[in-house]
């Protein structure tokens, strides 16, 4: 029985993940043609690499089909209810940084905090007859955050891309999205609310609590964490 390690299957997140493991003596690589999703591990016995879409890694971890997985901390929190029951964080990997933020039109000079947003949502609903719309794909994280801060009279509208454009297109009044530099937000005449972001995300190595942890996989895990310099 091998220990299955799920990593993002493409792009910078994959490259950075390979670099991170490589720097710690575990060489991950793709094999076969460019288009074939096959991979190999060198420097340790008993680890099998599984290439997956970063968005599917939380689900595979929760189901215990992989023992370990690398994905954004935002995705785990968004996709898994009660995530600490299902996975544990082994290492914050120091790349893939992005903040989940709530942004409103820059012309809303009267709105700087969630407190303002809540007051505006009440007035907006009274005036327009529907709840103030926030476009996002991070439904759980945003809903929990707004509930914790007592924001009411809003609705979340799903937006899987080009979220920053929804305000200008009048399909939403505000947005909640991941940003690293804020450049796209500014270009679309939006500003980020003051205060801490909803979540500061980065690439993270997770351990699945519900995977098959037998003598063999536990032993492999001990060797791997030792190599990676993780106390687990």
């Amino acid at each position: 029985m091998t220990l299955k390690l799920g990593v993002p299957s493409k792009g910078r997140l994959m490259e950075k993940t390979f670099d991170w493991f490589g720097a710690r003596g575990v060489e991950l690589s793709r094999t076969g043609s460019d288009r074939e999703y096959a991979a190999a591990v060198k420097g340790i016995e008993g680890v099998e690499l599984v290439l997956l879409s970063a968005g599917e890694i939380p689900r595979e971890l929760a189901a215990g089909r992989i023992h370990l997985g690398v994905t954004g901390s935002d995705l785990v929190r968004e996709k898994l209810a009660a995530w600490p029951d299902k996975v544990s964080e082994l290492a914050l990997m120091g790349f893939g940084h992005a903040d989940l933020v709530i942004a409103v039109p820059k012309c809303w000079v009267d709105v700087n905090t969630l407190d303002d947003l809540d007051a505006v949502a009440a007035a907006f609903r009274a005036k327009h007859g529907f709840r103030l719309r926030i476009a996002t794909k991070y439904h759980r994280l945003i809903r929990d955050h707004l509930r914790d801060h007592g924001v009411a009279d809003y609705q979340l509208v799903d937006s899987q891309g080009a979220t920053e454009g929804t305000v200008k297109n009048e399909t939403a009044e505000a947005i909640a999205d991941i940003t690293s530099t804020g450049e796209t937000l500014r270009a679309n005449h939006l500003k980020i609310l003051a205060g801490a972001p909803v979540h500061k995300s980065q690439a993270t190595l997770f351990k699945a609590r519900g995977a098959d942890w037998n003598d063999k996989t536990r032993a492999t895990f001990a060797v791997l964490t030792d190599k990676l310099g993780i106390n687990a």
Partner: protein, 366 residues
């Protein structure tokens, strides 16, 4: 876990009890249009309810309770006064406490009676208490009408009162606003800088989105007005705190409330109603000397309940949810009535969880 057939039989027995007391049996669809519930409870309900999608009807929810469909049914075709009883499963998604049941039975009794609201309060409480016999349960009661009256009577601006009333069922947010209006907490970040600006719209960039420039400047004006308004006095905040901290028997609390009403005359009518209700309860055989009253009861989990509120608890089993809960929800009928133009219908009711009765050893004799 008790057998479902037994729970259904117990639910049927309880509904039969309410039927013999003159209630009409009604049914409600399990699939409810999501829009109404979302407009009432906001996005939060998505975390608590099962949301599904119908290709033709759009978003639907498995009914999280019977109250909304029963009110809608009554508004559409009911004659007043009306008494209804119902039974069936309700569905609650449990994101946090996974061990709580996502579906369970409720049996309910609801009264729509415009003319004698106080007597209807007492009737519902006494009837539910009767249905729970012979179990010995602790009853807790409260009255959201007191707090609402106290807030409406504050010596402050209408805007501040409206903001507090809007968050009355969100205690943490309510407290944060009250602290700010009382000058105990700082203004939100950036507020002072905004108010200091001669022209707040400078550097605002292009006007985008549905919220107009007029709406923005209206709010800036409102913020200026708010900054100039006097703080809510310490005395008023302390009286509110006294009200929220009340925890004694119903007969003792009346005396205490009379004292508070001397300094806070706005609650006098609500105190009169509480007294009249206590008398109505006595007439129905309730001992108000031992009936607990809690000033904050109903604030966290009973949104839209704006008058008498109550719950029955098994004291030996703190792990169990309340066996029965209920109260007056005129605010809910007001909101639903505004949507369909039928106006407010005073309403009070309560629900029992039959499987808890079985678990606690009642109802076996049935």
């Amino acid at each position: 876990m008790t057998d479902k057939a037994l729970i259904r039989a117990e639910a049927t027995r309880l509904r039969g009890f309410f039927e013999t007391k003159g209630a009409q049996v009604v049914e409600a669809d399990i699939l409810q249009p999501a829009g109404t519930l979302l407009d009432l409870y906001g996005e939060d309900i998505r975390g608590r309810a099962f949301v599904s999608h119908d290709p033709m009807r759009g978003e639907v929810m498995l009914r999280p309770d019977f109250t909304v469909p029963v009110v809608q049914m009554h508004m559409a075709e009911g004659a007043e006064p009306a008494r209804y009883t119902y039974m069936g499963e309700v569905f609650r998604a449990q994101e946090q406490v996974a061990e709580r049941a996502p579906e369970y039975f409720q049996v309910g009794y609801e009264v729509f009676d415009r003319d004698a609201p106080i007597d209807a309060d007492a009737e519902v409480f006494a009837l539910i208490r009767g249905a729970l016999e012979p179990l010995s349960l602790r009853a807790a009661t409260g009255d959201m009408g007191l707090l609402l009256a106290a807030v409406r009577g504050l010596k402050t601006t209408d805007r501040r009162k409206a903001a507090l009333l809007r968050h009355i069922w969100r205690p943490r947010r309510f407290r944060a606003l009250l602290d700010r209006f009382a000058g105990r907490a700082p203004l939100p970040e950036g507020r002072e800088a905004l108010l200091a600006k001669e022209d707040p719209m400078i550097d605002a960039g292009p006007q985008i989105g549905l919220r107009s420039a007029a709406e923005i400047s209206e709010r800036v004006d409102a913020l200026r007005e708010d900054a100039a308004a006097a703080a809510i006095s310490t005395q008023e905040v302390e009286l509110l705190d006294d009200l929220l901290a009340l925890r004694e028997s119903t007969s003792n609390v009346l005396e205490h409330l009379r004292d508070i009403a001397v300094d806070m005359p706005a609650i006098a009518d609500a105190v009169d109603r509480l007294e009249a209700r206590a008398e109505a309860l006595v007439k129905r055989g309730v001992n108000v000397d031992t009936l607990d009253f809690e000033g904050s009861y109903g604030r966290t989990s009973m949104e839209y309940y704006d008058g008498f509120v109550f719950g029955f608890y098994a004291e030996a089993r703190p792990d169990l949810p309340p066996v029965a809960t209920g109260g007056r929800y005129d605010a809910l009928t007001r909101v639903l009535g505004n949507q369909n133009g039928s106006g407010e219908i005073p309403a009070v009711g309560g629900v029992i969880r039959p499987e808890l009765l079985l678990e606690l050893g009642a109802g076996d004799k049935a």
